[in-house]
């Protein structure tokens, strides 16, 4: 999984980034969507804190250093639920 994947088919770039996010101990994330458009890589999904969002961008940058990163990952809310479901 090492090496610069900034060039090559977008399918292989997505594969390299997704595997790095899951297998790198700094991230261990399997739930991030990775989309490649030209020289831009779009990251989306949900994580548990802003620091993890930044760590993901760091790892992605190491895998595809020449690509522009749009980091649209959100931090999931953890408040009380606003409703409940009743089974009848």
């Amino acid at each position: 999984m090492t090496g610069d994947h900034s060039t090559g088919a977008p399918q292989y770039q997505v594969a390299a980034v997704r595997r790095a996010l899951a297998e790198d101990e700094r991230t261990a994330e399997q739930g991030i969507k990775v989309t490649v458009r030209g020289d831009t890589i779009l990251l989306s999904g949900d994580v548990e804190c802003a620091r993890r969002r930044d760590e993901i961008a760091e790892v992605v940058h190491e895998v595809v250093p020449a690509m522009r990163i749009y980091n649209d990952i959100k931090v999931t809310e953890a408040g009380e639920p606003t409703g409940r479901e009743e089974f009848r």
Partner: protein, 236 residues
Amino acid sequence: MIRIAAIGDVHLSKDTGGRFRPALRTLDEHADALLLAGDLTRHGTVEEAKVVAAEFGSLSVPVVAVLGNHDYHSNRSAEVTEVLADAGISVLEGQSAIVPVDGRKVGIAGVKGFGGGFAGKCASAFGEPEIKAFVEHTEVAAAKLRGALEAMDCDVRIALTHYSPVSDTLRGEPPEIYPFLGCYQLGEAIDSCDTALAIHGHAHYGTEQGFTPGGVRVRNVAHPIIRAAYAIYCIE
């Protein structure tokens, strides 16, 4: 009315400890039990398990959990289970827990489960030893769930897994990865035992609601799906 709170895929580590605790302080006003549907930690370390214990231990209602694939990552699942158990959290892997609610016995049978895929598009125990071992893990998990569901002496049965028992609640995930998100054998076990509700996690891009082929309600409570500290399901 039996009120079940549930949440999965909280992926706690020391950088996120305390996130859920404020919302859990009033849990007993809303629910009679809390189910944790696996992936409680990020890397499955003992240190992370201690964060989970602090987050979900000593609550005002019984807490029942299964582990997820992340909780196995560091090969410390036994110690993770022990840390959670010491905090009063029942961790199920082929076992069950009975929670009394208003004179009724609510039985929760739990197992991590595994992938394998769904009817007609699933792995078979054929060929190399690696694929046979994969399918065997699936079948052992489903057999453990069935055994735990059957053995419970209770009024209401709930199945708790990390992997999904149905494909319904995976809608939104790429179909190519369904075999890594769940298996039909868990659904078959749930359908064999007059189950009232099945709770799972693991599928961050799936959907909350589904049914087994036998008509049992299934709910995906992965945190990115329910977007709150827990979801509440009420059974009459």
